[in-house]
Assembly symmetry: C2
Homo-oligomer: 192 residues x 2
């Protein structure tokens, strides 16, 4: 993993991948899957993610004010599915059961998920309870970002020359995903 400039952090989520959300508070950690995540701002970089208030992840984030957003790849499809299907509330050894391992993020200690092609360390924005309450919408600032240089370099994704198992996952329904696919180049815009 190499460090991504914070001004490019939004690009890690710009193409709409399904993510894994890492959380930790008072010695308890969790990782869950989430399809509803997106960039919210460029610089300073911010993200938005929907996390149901019934989840352990939400309890940990609300208590600690920190979270990580991780971009898993095709090789991790079964781990992503398990992280979305098992609850940390009822399965105390969830991470082991999901075969998910993590490393503490440098600024906050929040877990970053091993094997992911991108990792964002985030701090919940102050005074955003007005959306977290009614809409389960967490708004957070990105304070650290890392990516796998086999697929993300010079500030953008380059999937086409990397092993296919490193492609991002995009959840459709019930364990059906699509991997990100072929490169498509649009014509430049003519302003004349």
């Amino acid at each position: 993993m190499h460090t991504v400039e914070l001004k490019h952090a939004y690009r890690l989520l710009n193409h709409g991948p399904t993510v894994l959300v890492g959380s930790q508070h008072a010695g308890q950690s969790n990782v869950m899957a989430a399809a509803w995540a997106m960039p919210l701002d460029f610089d300073t970089p911010k993200i938005a993610v929907v996390i149901d208030k019934a989840t352990l992840t939400r309890e940990l984030i609300d208590a600690s004010g920190v979270l990580s957003i991780n971009v898993p790849c095709v090789a991790m499809k079964d781990q992503v599915m398990a992280a979305g299907g098992l609850s940390g509330k009822t399965v105390p050894d969830k991470l082991a059961r999901c075969q998910i391992s993590t490393q503490p993020a440098p600024h906050t200690g929040v877990p970053l998920v091993d094997g992911c092609t991108a990792q964002l360390e985030c701090r919940v924005l102050p005074a955003t309870a007005h959306v977290a309450g009614p809409h389960d919408l967490i708004l957070a600032e990105v304070i650290g970002a890392w990516a796998d240089e086999r697929v993300f370099s010079q500030g953008r994704w380059h999937f086409e020359n990397a092993p296919p198992e490193l492609r991002s996952l995009h959840h459709v329904a019930g364990g059906h995903f699509y991997a990100i696919g072929e490169a498509v180049q649009a014509l430049p815009v003519t302003h004349a």
Copy 2:
């Protein structure tokens, strides 16, 4: 286009496509590209989309309280690029220049974009100015949804048996997109 049950509307955006946002007020319409859009709730269905306050689209949405979210396909890559690069403020004939045509949505008249594989008619949620102001984040309820049955049927996307030019676009940076790719099936979760 066929009608999508509102309880399935979130699935039109669940895989993270780049979208076209339609808007209209007092006889003026616009369509712009946006990569930062996602579902916000299942039922009633809601969406979240980031729209810069400097845009004509934002002015029209703020004035009318309605918008459309449309999922363009590979065949529309140059239209999406043009819709993202030209401003309706400075290019009065923007839609013609972008070769974009629209049809009025049944409930609100907001423009739905022709050629897109999914269309969502949306009404801005009341009392969400607290996120629209500081974060340019528009929260809206989905009041109508339609999809192209060649790629969306039985409540989910099925890209694998359709022409490749119908695949969704996922913007990376500067006119570089990836099309959605190969189907990936995860193992069912074992709760035992």
